[in-house]
Symmetry: C2
Subunit: 295 residues, 2 copies
Amino acid sequence: MAEPLFERLCLVGIGLIGSSIARVAQERGDIARQVVAHSRRAETLARVRELGIADAVEADAARAVRGADCVILCIPVGAYAGVMRVIAPHLMPGAILSDVGSTKGSVVRDLVPLLPEGVHLVPAHPMAGTEHSGPDAGFPTLFQGRYCILTPLPGSDPEAAEKVAELWRRCGSMVETMDAATHDKVVAIVSHLPHLIAFTICGTADDLAEETREAVLKFAASGFRDFTRIAASDVDMWRDVFLNNREAVLEMLARFTEDAQAFGRAIRWGQAEFIEDRIRRGRSIRRGLIERKQA
Amino acid sequence: MAEPLFERLCLVGIGLIGSSIARVAQERGDIARQVVAHSRRAETLARVRELGIADAVEADAARAVRGADCVILCIPVGAYAGVMRVIAPHLMPGAILSDVGSTKGSVVRDLVPLLPEGVHLVPAHPMAGTEHSGPDAGFPTLFQGRYCILTPLPGSDPEAAEKVAELWRRCGSMVETMDAATHDKVVAIVSHLPHLIAFTICGTADDLAEETREAVLKFAASGFRDFTRIAASDVDMWRDVFLNNREAVLEMLARFTEDAQAFGRAIRWGQAEFIEDRIRRGRSIRRGLIERKQA
């Protein structure tokens, strides 16, 4: 077995992602000698103790990060600033601070101003998830074969970034690096806008007259079912994603809306060629995904 | 084995749906004594012959329907009017004419004016499908456990409707009956609008600057992947669906667009409660689907 990457890994938040990291660490043994799990909810910590997936649990965030050479925030991105105010004074010099949030510009915005001298910030985004949440939802193969995007800051310590990259490789992920702004645009179109659409269409259906709504639920064909699969996601996490990737999500929504309106106009005026072109483009992107084995 | 429902069943079009019906008929033996497959494409008929899933193939539509006591149109809905002009004079008195199209108002519009005296029209829509098409794509379990909606016309022969219902029950489907207008609204929201959105978002992504587009393909998270699964569908079929359910699709698109804009506005102005409410509604619709075992 390889030498453990860290002495003491502190997971701030132990839901789907945090508990999956804990499970990998436990299974492999070469992530950290000790894993400490923090949650502000007593019942979550009790459940983590029952599951036996961490070496220690700690209800106090400041105490949890003490002595940790790696701290990973696994909480909704809207909670970062508040938690950072509590833990910043207790972060060990030389420690690595990372996270798993779906927005990265906001991470820089919220963490950098409070970052103590000598603590290395390496933002990360494992592109993996399910529609379930909480410590019971995690599993050790969650990250296998999925991308993890690192967005290290210009001028930050390359050794710290490499240790975080190695952690994710040991979780089974392919690691890619890009700047925070590019990351936020890419996830806005591949993930955040699809979720916005899925949440919205569920509401649109729910607003239909009672009779039609009952039929909608009854006859939900595969199209609508795929949307609702996306829509069954954690409320706090997604609220924070939308609020913390505002500019990119609004830009992608505006582009999409223009395109959807153009599609609608083509339907209204019977423009068969325009419609066929749109359908063909969808198929070609689909083929692109299959070739990349992401579908 | 029960008595076959029909003496001679003619499938006009033998793609995913038509060839699946043919396979059920062959497997069960109690759908029709003889199944005739028609396609205007010689290579399709050659393939059907190779597959051995029909008792006879016939390149001429008029000859194909001759002597058939049941004719089912399994072609894109935009082709109905043209085919009907060819077959109408050759339909047998007392025969049942049915179809499998995803729009039903257009079926009434296109078939009723040409319907010969004594031929019973029973429009049907099996709510089943895959992203594949052609005679090789069909399989005999396609319709099992799925709904099939019949939209018989007011005053039409109940015995004919019952025979078509029984055909679909023998295919494994649950049969429901409603009027064509209600059908068209329901499928506009559960199927047609989701497909419009999926086709559109693929185009929106494809229009992004080269660099971002490459990253989009690389990092397509589960959200976008589900959309592209929907988007990988038959071009002719979907063009015709949009053009033939115009009013209902445009109404649902307008409602959805208003709702998506409201979501975007909430993001812009940081209205957390509005966003949470939308996410929760998505989850509750999802739960509704799970309870109905459609998810």
